[in-house]
Amino acid sequence: MVGIRRGVVGKASYSLFALARNALSYHEDWREAWRSPEPKKHYKVIIVGGGGHGLATAYYLARVHGIRDIAVLEKGWIGGGNTGRNTTIIRSGYLWDESIALYEHALKLWETMSQELNFNVMFSQRGVINLSHSVHEMREMRRRYEAVRLNGVDIEMLSPSEIKKMVPIINIDPNIRYPVMGGILQRRAGTARHDAVAWGYARGADDMGVDIIQNCEVTGFRRKADGAIEGVETNRGFIGADKVGCVPAGHSAVLAEMAGFKLPIQARPLQAMVSEPVKPCIDTVVMSNAVHMYISQSDKGELVLGAGTDSYNSYAQRGSFNIAEHLMAATVELYPITSRLRMLRSWGGIVDTCPDASPILSKTPVPGLYFNCGWGTGGFKATPGSGHVFADLIANDRPNAIAAPFALDRFRTGYLVDEHGAAGVAH
């Protein structure tokens, strides 16, 4: 492992031992997890967007490709975009081979992330269940099950009673409006502590010399005479770069327009909420497309509930109340014991939805400018894989096999990776 500071200064490494030793000095000697440097005049690579994907990109650029002269520019605070406001569902059981390859690549990286980063991201492989509520959904579910299985990825089909065994609080009465008819389970899937992912990658990248610059908003792009990228305008002045990778999630269309092109992206509100904390009552993640709700319980004890998107464009980080209201009705309908629990906080994010519900990992009409976006409602799970392949794309100026199907050109040729069909609420 490339641990520049961590390797040398043992104190910076995290462990129970380090905690004990630091306790003796009242925890006053911990060093900062990442520096807050002033931006330099020029970098080899600038990453725009300090979400999980952007930070992971910088980390892998440094770690795998040996590029250290990197800045991550974040307009607010790192992890404050969708990384900090998602319901943290991680799985790789998608429909199309291309998607399964991408998300499974990520899932494998999740499995070693805490150790690799020396930062506990609490990746909890508690399993994710997708429910089916009609004959039609059962058929679609079977299709996805087979696709995942034949890709060599773990997946199981469950009957209602098997689901009930794993999720005792679920209502499997066959006479309800959306009866639980079956489900698929990916055991290796689960959740992670979302903020820690951003922080862990930031710390790891910083360790290798990456400058993480917060409160630095990119306001424009500067191009050379030959059209190639020259650098970015920011609220803290111009910063030059040989290559620029944009990973701005909800703001991808805004940045693309600054660079002079349009993306097939619409920014939509997506809401989530948490209940007050209670003792453990649900041990897996359960998603239901038909009723537009999904649920898990955080380690602190809150039920984490997610809904569907609103249908209009918005950058407000809030959605309409009726979506929240429906989500809660659906929660009570499927999990009757939740009725007397209380909703503690609700919030919204801006998701960059793509026509085929698949991401964009691509070169752009501007040489040296790359985009990683379009993850919509389901990109948290991809964080490490996305960063890994995007770093590769930036470093080599060509997509690798995993990234290639997700290039922008698919919208011209018609080779879409349409994950709407079976994914619905696409987490």
Partner: protein, 1012 residues
């Protein structure tokens, strides 16, 4: 366990020498249990006031360290005293004792402790607390890697506070829409005044307060008079006037909990929680969804705790709460209180306590030279005042027994005197007041920092609204009322009403002098070295944790919040947020405004999920749509399938039949005799106008201009990307009129799609579209004997010549006016009879009766699927998924080559859609004719013993076909059209099947059966 405690009520104020005895009804004792012990209180008490009256201070345990905790506050700001309320399926975790109204038989339990509140094993965490600073879990539990799930198990069980109920909720919840001119949030003096002024103009006013009665802080004051009346009497007078006005809605126990866009607010009303009994049909709680023309925010203030060593001990309370318990509930929270204050308001508490018989231990005043009427009043009562002193720490076991105080340096950052011990049984903290700006912020108003008074006040607003009184930074009753009246009438005027501002009443109240704000009181040793200085009580976040976070680089207040969890507890930082950000700003040496606040989000206080769900549960969760024949299907034993919102008959098992047996029987009957299908759910659209044919020509991929009147045609609808969107048969009823059918699930989408094109792309086309889906009930009479059956009911000439395939005739069937379509979804002779919906069942029964001699067999959607698959007819949404073109389906014949344009034409010309290796629809035959492939199974050319394998595509439809006498399947596979005759494999779990690719037509390949 349960022994009735003698009702000694040590803290209940008695005697006549005190002003009032609180607002409880002493003639109505009420008994309740807490952790199994019985106690009593009075009607009007909260659980909190009753416990205090019974001298119970230890009420809960904290989240992380399991520290013993008592009450801090008086209302919804309470972070500590969380209760597991009631039993069985009515149990409710994390309920604030301060908001639980007492009723006879109330059962309360402490939480987050084991085995009991006094001896909590979890408290061992305190021994290791040094290992558990903020964010410790990010630094450990990583080895061995596989152990995280085990660590997590333990962590999860230690966390979580209360317990969820185990069964469904027996209570009822409702929601209500409301509209008003003025919504007033908060019914203290300012809110009452605003409501009154607005209401007098005739405006529609809703006034909501989360407390049990209106009056707000006035109910907790005994030193305020308004127009010569004690404040509470003035309140009663105003409320009485409001109550008499028909356009005023008064809501108590009602929290304005959400402020959404465009003045849409939600109110959570607790309707029956306080009576402890279930009233049949009456909701337990109700969510009001209010659209208000104008909003007046009058939510008052929340007092700030002071941050000193061990400031979390039971018996350390907010000063205003201590006063509130005394004045409003007639309870002394302690007999020997110490008041530590940054301002004059602490003196009011001292006076109120003193005058009710408490012995004030002393007042510790952070100010060096306190002065003014309130200070004089304390001095004149002989109360000891330690000016310029810090409260260094609390002392005691389980509960406050004393405090350490010392003189501070002039700048308030250190101590410069000896630490002295003061005996006391209560510490009242008066740290100044924060305006309750939550709703203002939720509505996206911008806060302004007032550096003089160290508070955030509302700045520019985003919605049409105003803030008045305490929440606007106006801390006197006189100002609150004056402003309330003024703004109330202004808002009414903005909402279109006229009226004059009522005269402001005369208010007498104590005058306050300047305060001195210190966020973190100086201590003998640096924070973190000895004891704990709590900022967020519930989540056990200390000043040392906040400093650690900033030291580690988590400097944005949002990072501090997420790293330490400050402000993330069930109180959402009502008492901690401002202290936390002030400590962070001091630590970083930057201005509070630079640090900023975290985002306020709904709900203001946690709100029951069931209340938000309202009655949208069970049968009312989502409508189930049924057809006119539904009753018959039910009475005749059909099983049902959900298709979108529709409930359709799936198959009609006879006694003892399995699905397969029933479907086989139904399928055979439809091919050999006659079957009857309820096809009512198909979408139907009346397309009418001189340009109707031209319109269809653009919408469908095939040609429509020349279709004859009375003739039907199958059409495929594409999207502009060239993918199949819907299909159906459309009939020309008249020169300018067509009857279009769509798939059941696609109906609404198709209508919307066509309307969009008419209104926005081709407004020049004269066409009207009307959904007539439910105007018609449809019975499909199918099979070789269908003509015989229909002939019995109908006087039309049904011969092939007179009534050819793909045509429509109007007439009567069984005496009912009908349109009969000779179309077929099975390939066999068939008649689709459409009658007005009201006659649907009559038609069905008549056909069944007429068909009896032919053994007519009703069949459901499953047999329908088999029958159409036998003929290779697709189902959009099953054999297609939005990524399939007509060409992929082998349906090039339906794509016009001559039309210059139609929707989908250009899209189909894109490179990938022309690729011969695309997935294409084929038929599959298994080796074993009895083996039915699972739908969704995948097809491979190169079978491997284990996954992964390269997949070619998947099975979209698969059935046993009794008519073909074997299993049949449809699949989309790569380059399928060129693979006919190839043998491929379908790998299943533990085995695989060989399949032969064929044409997707299995029965009646030449289509000769359609004429019977």
């Amino acid at each position: 366990m349960t022994g009735m405690n003698s009702p000694h009520q040590t803290n209940r104020i008695t005697g006549t020498h005190v002003k009032g005895g609180g607002r409880v009804d002493r003639s109505r004792p009420v008994s309740f249990t807490f952790d199994g012990t019985s106690f009593s209180g009075f009607e009007g008490d909260t659980l909190a006031s009753a416990l205090l009256a019974n001298d119970v201070h230890l009420i809960g345990r904290s989240f992380k360290y399991h520290r013993p905790r008592g009450l801090l506050g008086l209302g919804s700001e309470e972070p500590n005293a969380l209760i597991q309320l009631a039993r069985g399926n009515r149990t409710e975790p994390n309920t604030r004792a301060t908001q639980i109204e007492l009723f006879d038989g109330l059962v309360a339990q402490s939480q987050n402790r084991w085995p009991c509140l006094k001896f909590d094993v979890g408290a061992v965490n305190q021994l290791f607390h040094k290992l558990f600073p903020a964010g410790f879990y990010y630094k450990t539990f990583m080895w061995p890697a596989s152990f995280w799930m085990a660590y997590e198990h333990v962590i999860r069980h230690a966390a979580g506070l209360g317990k969820a109920p185990e069964g469904p909720d027996p209570d009822r919840y409702e929601r209500m829409h409301a509209h008003c001119d003025i919504l007033v949030a908060g019914g203290g003096p300012s809110g009452l005044a605003a409501a009154l002024a607005a209401a007098r103009t005739g405006a529609r006013v809703i006034l909501a307060d989360e407390s049990t009665e209106f009056g707000g802080s006035l109910l907790s004051e005994d030193d305020v008079e308004i127009d010569g009346l004690p404040a509470a009497d003035w309140v009663a007078q105003v409320v009485a006037e409001l109550r008499s006005m028909p356009e005023v809605t008064l809501l108590t126990r009602s929290t304005v909990n959400g402020y959404y866009d465009h003045n849409y607010l939600t109110i959570a009303e607790r309707v029956t929680d306080h009576i402890g009994a279930v009233v049949p049909n009456v909701p337990r709680q109700r969510i009001w969804k209010v659209r208000a023309k104008r909003v007046v925010l009058a939510t008052g203030t929340i007092e700030r705790p002071l941050v000193f060593r061990d400031n979390d001990r039971p018996g350390v309370m907010l000063s205003s709460a201590v006063r509130g318990y005394a004045v409003r509930y007639g309870v002394l929270a302690g007999q020997r209180p110490l008041i530590v204050t940054s301002n004059d308001d602490g003196y009011r508490t001292a006076l109120a306590m003193h005058d009710r018989g408490a012995r004030i231990a002393c007042i510790v005043d952070l100010r060096t030279e306190p002065d003014g009427a309130l200070v004089d009043a304390a001095r004149s009562r002989g109360i000891e005042i330690h000016a310029g002193h810090s409260l260094v720490g609390s002392l005691g076991r389980g509960r406050v027994q004393g405090a350490e105080i010392a003189r501070m340096t002039g700048d308030g950052t250190g101590l410069n005197g000896a630490v002295r011990r003061v005996d006391c049984d209560l510490i009242a903290m008066a740290g100044g007041f924060n305006p309750t700006v939550h709703l203002f912020s939720q509505s996206r108003g911008k806060l302004t920092w007032d550096p003089e008074r160290f508070i955030f006040v509302p700045g520019t607003n985003h919605e049409p609204q105003v803030s008045v009184g305490g929440c606007n930074g106006d801390f006197t009753v006189a100002q609150a009322i004056k402003d309330g009246l003024q703004k109330g009438v202004e808002m009414a005027r903005e909402a279109g009403f006229t009226g004059r501002k009522p005269a402001a009443p005369e208010v007498s109240e104590p005058k306050s002098t300047a305060e001195r704000t210190l966020w973190l009181l100086p201590s003998t040793r640096p924070v973190g070295h000895k004891g704990k200085h709590f900022v967020d009580f519930q989540n056990d976040v200390t000043a040392a944790d906040l400093k650690l976070a900033t030291r580690e680089g988590y400097r944005s207040i949002e990072h501090v919040k997420r790293y330490t969890t400050t402000g993330m507890a069930t109180d959402q930082g009502k008492t901690s947020n401002v202290n936390a950000l002030a400590i962070v700003s001091e630590t970083l040496g930057v201005d509070v405004t630079q640090v900023g606040t975290t985002t306020f989000r709904p709900p203001y206080t946690p709100t029951t999920i069931g209340a938000y769900g309202g009655r949208d549960i069970g049968a009312l969760f989502d409508p189930v749509r049924t057809t006119a024949m539904d009753g018959w299907h039910r009475e005749n034993g059909a099983t049902f399938e959900h298709v979108g919102q529709w409930m359709r008959a799936w198959y009609y098992p006879k006694k003892g039949e399995t699905l397969r047996q029933a479907v086989d029987r139904e399928c055979l009957a439809a091919r050999t005799g006659v079957g009857l299908l309820d096809a009512s759910t198909l979408g139907k659209i009346d397309v009418h106008g001189p340009d109707a044919a031209e319109f269809l020509n653009r919408i469908y991929s095939n040609a429509w201009l020349k279709l004859g009147i009375g003739r039907c045609r199958y059409g495929l609808m594409l999207k502009d990307d060239g993918m199949v969107m819907d299909d159906g048969v459309t009939t020309r009823i008249a020169e300018d009129r067509f009857h279009m059918t769509t798939t059941t699930g696609g109906a609404a989408g198709v209508l919307a799609w066509m309307e969009e094109h008419l209104q926005t792309e081709w407004p020049e086309l004269k066409v009207h579209l009307t959904s007539v889906t439910e105007q018609w009930a449809v019975a499909s009479i199918v099979g070789p004997k269908s003509r015989d059956v229909l002939a019995k009911l109908n006087d039309l000439d049904l011969s092939n010549d007179a009534f050819p395939f793909m045509s429509m005739r109007e007439g009567t069937v069984a005496g009912i006016p009908a349109r009969v379509y000779r179309i077929s979804f099975t390939g066999d002779l068939a008649f689709e009879v459409n009658v007005p919906r009201r006659y649907g069942r009559a038609l069905w029964e008549a056909v069944m009766a007429a068909g009896a001699e032919f053994d007519i067999t009703p069949y459901g959607t499953e047999a329908m699927h088999v029958l159409r698959a036998e003929r290779g007819f697709i189902i959009v949404g099953q054999d297609t998924d939005g990524s399939v073109t007509p060409s992929d389906l082998g349906m090039d014949w339906i794509v016009s080559k001559t039309k210059p344009d139609f929707i989908g034409k250009r899209g189909m010309a894109r490179p990938d859609l022309q690729d011969p290796h695309r997935k294409q629809l084929v038929g599959l035959l298994t080796e074993d004719p009895n083996e039915v492939l699972p739908e969704g199974a995948h097809v491979v050319a190169d079978l491997k013993p284990q996954p992964p394998m390269v997949m070619l595509g998947h099975v979209t439809s698969s059935y046993y076909s009794p008519n073909v006498g074997r299993s049949i399947a449809l699949a989309v596979i790569k380059g399928g059209h060129g693979r006919h005759g190839q043998t491929l494999s379908v790998p299943l779990v533990g085995r695989s099947l060989k399949v032969t690719v064929c044409e997707p037509v299995f029965f009646d390949k030449d289509g000769s059966r359609k004429d019977g």
